[in-house]
Structure formats: C-alpha cells, structure tokens
Symmetry: C2
C-alpha cells in the first residue's frame, strides 16, 4: 500500500510507493568497471604539475614536501567577489549583481581516488578543510550562507573526475533554506527543544532506518526520503553551525563519511551522488532550533513532472529497506 | 557579470552566470535521428490492439469508429483510490495512506507521434481532455489538488515512448504549492492585483523574453529561469483555475503548445522535457491572486549539490538569449 510521509522539518510530503517497488539491489549500477582511472592525467587541472591551470591556492595541506590538499578559487565561478550586493529593479523584476565566493577543494593529488578509496588521512584533511574554509569565509563581510558540497559523477553534475569538493558562499539566504529554518524554529517554540534531536531519539528507538551509530554520529535513511538511498549523517551533540565542529568530531566524521560512502559504493557499484552540509546561516550561528548535518543524495532516479509541479517526490523504495541493505554491506 | 534574479512569486533566487556561458545552440541534442519510431509496436500497452494491457478507459474520444484518445487509470499508480486520508502518527513521524487518483492520457493511437508532430486535432483533443478530466476529478470527494503533466523522454523520467500525459490528484496541497500561493496572495493584498497579470504587462513592455504572443496566450522564457529554455505559456485573461479554460482558449492553447514544442524540437533536436499545468487547488477555485499557466522544463542540465542545498539554481544561459533563439526557429 502506498503511503504519504511528511518531512517533519520542511513539512513537504513524499509518497512511498512499494507498488512500483524496486528492491534495493535493483539500484546496483550497471556501469562496467572497465579500466580503472589512472592516478595521474596530463590534462587534469587538479593533478600535480598542472597547478598553473588553476588560480593560486588560498589554503594548502602539505605532506613530505608536496601538497596533499589544495583549495583554489573556482576558475569558472558562478559568483564573483568584487561585485556589490545592492538590489536593483528592472521594471517589476528584482535582481542583484552576482556577488559571492566559490572555491574548489582538491582533496588528493591522486586522480583516481574517491572518498571511499582514499587514505583515511585524506578524508580527515578534507573535512578539516571544510571547517577551516567555513571559518575563513565566515569572516568575509556581506556573506550570509556557506554551502559545502560534493558532486560525484556525471549524473551528479560534474565532469571532473579528480576528487574534489566545492564551497559557495552567498550574500543571500534563499527561501528554500529559510522555510526549513522557520519550521524548525516554530517546532522549537512549540515543544521547547530541537526537532532534530527529538527525531534522532525516535530513530534510535525505532532502529529500522539506522545505518550506523558511532560515538559521535548517527547515520540514517530519513523517514521521508525523497529518493532511494538518501542518507543523513547527524552529529549526536546539538550544534546548529558547522563552525562549531570539534577536532574529535572531525576525526569521527572522516571515518563515518568514508564508511558510509564505502557502503554505497560497494553495495550499489559506485553510484553517482551529491552530498551537502546544511548549517545555519553565518550570522545565526548557534541556535537551539537547528542542527547541522550532512545529506547524501545518490543519483539513482529521475524527478519528473509530478515532482517538479508539486514538490512531492515518489520514492519506490522504503528507507527501511535501504538502511537494511546498507547495514549488510561488508566494507572491510 | 553573473547576477542574482528573484522569482517574483516563490521569492527563490537563481544565478544567471554567463561567465560559464553556454550559447543557446550548444544545447542542440547530439542524439542521432536513427530509425524513426514505428507507428505501431506489438509490445506497447498504449498501441491499438493492446487495450487489454491497461485497465478499462474512463474517457475516450473516437474517430471513424476507433479510438483516437483514451484515458485509463494508471496501472502502476503511486496513489490508490480505495484508501483513507486519515493522518497517522508513528512515534514522532506523521504519515497517511496513499489515497489519490492517477490517470494516463494516451494522446494518439500512433506510437511514433509527439505533440510537435501530431495532427493539430490530436493536440486539441489532448488539451480538451485535460479540462474534461480536471472537471471530473474536481467532483471526487477528498481530492484537493490536480496536477496535469507530461514527461517526454528518458531524461524526463519516462520509459514509455507512446505519446501520453498524466494526471495525479492528491488529497494534500504540499508546501511547495502553498508557499507560492501564499506569496502571490500577499502580493495581491499589497498591490491589489494579480502578480502574474502585472508580470505579463511588464514582459510585453520589455519584449526580450517573449517567444510568441497570440490572441489569447503569451509564451515567454521567465526572468528568473532556473534552467536554459524554461518556457511558460500564460492565458492573457485572468483565471486562476484550469477548470475555467474556455473552448476558444483550448483551441488557441492547442496551437500555441504545438508551436512552442515544435520550436524546441526543431531548434534543439528533440530534447526531453517535462511540462506541468499549475492551477489553484480544487477548493480555492477562482481567486484574484493566482493565474494558471503551463510550464515547460527541457532536460538540458543537471542540478547538483549547490541546487539541492540552497534551491538557488545556476543557469548559464540568460532567458533573453533562449527567447531570441526560439523566436528565430522556422516551424513551417
């Protein structure tokens, strides 16, 4: 029987439709392994030796005298740092110059690695750099929201194979973000506590959607997953801003992020995915009603007209089944 | 220079980023024409002779003793009509049975046709049927929102080639729809008129985003287009519910819809697309603050982590360029 499920924060609905059911293992990607990527490519702007193909780095981590991670301004940035934030009217329309900052984190010198196959130290450097750049961009005047994300594979919107993440900082907090913050604020005003903390308590009680629990993090397939194998990684300690993440949490996050992406990669034969860190807007900082988290969205299905029209996603595979499948993947 | 543009109804922002520019003609699809589709396929559930592969029709249009259009309940419906709408708590989570109705409109007996290549009469039958089924489903108790949409091609989420549209009627108006209605209501409370009527006036004044104007419809690429070649078709007379569309409007809509999709198909070599009719919820009916329209979203780009995280779409091709390109396509 199909059912509607409500996302308790955004209040958007999904339809879990097992009548059209796909079992989790039907999402195993059919792509051939083919030749593994070479670990170095002459024409890759992110490979060692090609540093002149990118703008100079704003942050670097070195190991044995050469870089092991670089952060560079995005050469093809959608936003630029020399513009104004002034709103302008064009007749009845409203616009503003595209002020903002866009950076690329080159996570490893090795072209062929991914988060799932890197040294754990490289993953740790990556999440450490997320915090480093989050803090640095938080100091930039006129920026309001910092979005850290990773696009992996063509279906996830990237054509560059070399392992990298991105950061885009905008002078605008869009309704898409504000609406969820408003709802979680309303819930907090009503019930007195963080809706995410309450949700985690419930998930630990019900257990069926939990993929993994560590000392500091909880990994789960959310109740109202919009698509198969949506995964969220929540810190167990309440903090709303990613700026507050501690060294110990970063250590644990590196392990748990790698473990989760390994499960996805081994279980479904290396699917494309996006992940995003959702933090409060910079100036909101630490608040009682939001809880930062990382969301992973594998690109396994195609939203169609109904989803575009209503925002209601039809998901053919219950998150309980996806969590069970992911728990069963052997990563070692 | 990149710029932010605000959707005046949803208040969401887009980034028009010409630094990453793609010219309109770079979106011409590379797919080979190959063998044209045959006009009949033995294994297609929508081809004549295979009527037993679908549930019995709820509406039919005949011509010369055989059907030229059929509406059938969706055999793989995401929602079902025998369920309840009662909300249920599962711990802290909220859910409801998947009550609703889902229908498929088989628009032509010919497997190989599309809206762009059909007889105009078939397109007219299709939009006439949209109204017919809209009115019929409006009478069904407990339904609140009727969404009419068409998924064309694999990238748009359909695997069935045979020309068809879909209707899904839900007992829920989701926030995605409510938020825009609330904003247009607020604008109407503030300025006293329909924000869409005002926008059309402005577009006719600026002219740069207009693709075509007919007696009863205006076709344009919206100011804050989220992706290249987004197109909207607005009736010039103010009505908020698709239920009110007149016979004359339907005649004109058939021509203008076919003309628009021809421009897209000829200009960009038959790209995949979704289109959706956005009407008020059933019980809201005719109101001053909403204006029904049809939106066409060609599947030419891939939303990535930034879009998922912020709802801010990066669009590399200004709608002014897309409108100019579409105006220049020879359809005759």
């Amino acid at each position: 029987m199909p059912e509607f499920r409500q996302n308790m924060v955004s209040k958007e609905w999904v339809i879990i439709a097992p009548e059209r059911a796909k079992r989790p293992d039907q999402f195993i990607q059919k792509k051939e392994k083919g030749n593994p990527l070479s670990s170095h490519r002459k024409d890759c702007p992110f490979c060692p030796g090609n540093e002149s193909m990118t703008p100079p780095p704003v942050f670097t981590i070195e190991r044995n005298g050469s870089w092991s991670l670089r952060v560079v301004p995005n050469k093809f940035a959608a936003l630029q740092s020399h513009l104004t934030t002034e709103r302008k009217h064009e007749g009845r329309f409203l616009k503003a110059d595209g002020f903002g900052m866009a950076e690329v984190i080159v996570e490893s010198p090795f072209h062929s690695r991914t988060i799932a196959t890197m040294d754990l130290e490289e993953v740790r450097n990556t999440v450490l750099t997320y915090r480093e750049r989050y803090l640095a961009l938080s100091e930039v005047d006129r920026l309001d929201l910092i979005t850290i994300f990773r696009n992996y594979g063509e279906k996830a919107g990237t054509s560059l194979e070399h392992p990298h993440s991105q950061i885009i900082a905008t002078p605008i907090v869009p309704p898409h973000v504000r609406n969820s913050l408003y709802q979680s604020q309303l819930a907090c005003d009503t019930f007195g506590d963080c809706i995410y903390c309450g949700m985690m308590e419930e998930e630990l009680h019900q257990k069926v959607r939990v993929v993994k629990e560590t000392e500091r993090f909880l990994v789960l397939c959310p109740f109202a997953s919009r698509s198969p194998f949506e995964i969220r990684i929540y810190p167990k300690t309440h903090h709303s801003s990613f700026a507050t993440v501690s060294d110990r949490e970063l250590d644990d996050l590196a392990s748990v992020l790698q473990d989760t992406l390994k499960r996805l990669s081994i279980g479904l034969n290396d699917p494309d995915y996006n992940y995003i860190i959702r933090s409060t807007p910079i100036k909101d900082g630490e608040v009682k009603y939001h809880h930062w988290y990382l969301v992973i969205v594998p690109k396994l299905t195609t939203p169609a007209g109904f989803e575009i029209g209503t925002g209601i996603y039809i998901n053919t595979t219950p998150p309980e089944q996806c969590a069970e499948f992911l728990r069963g993947v052997q990563t070692g």
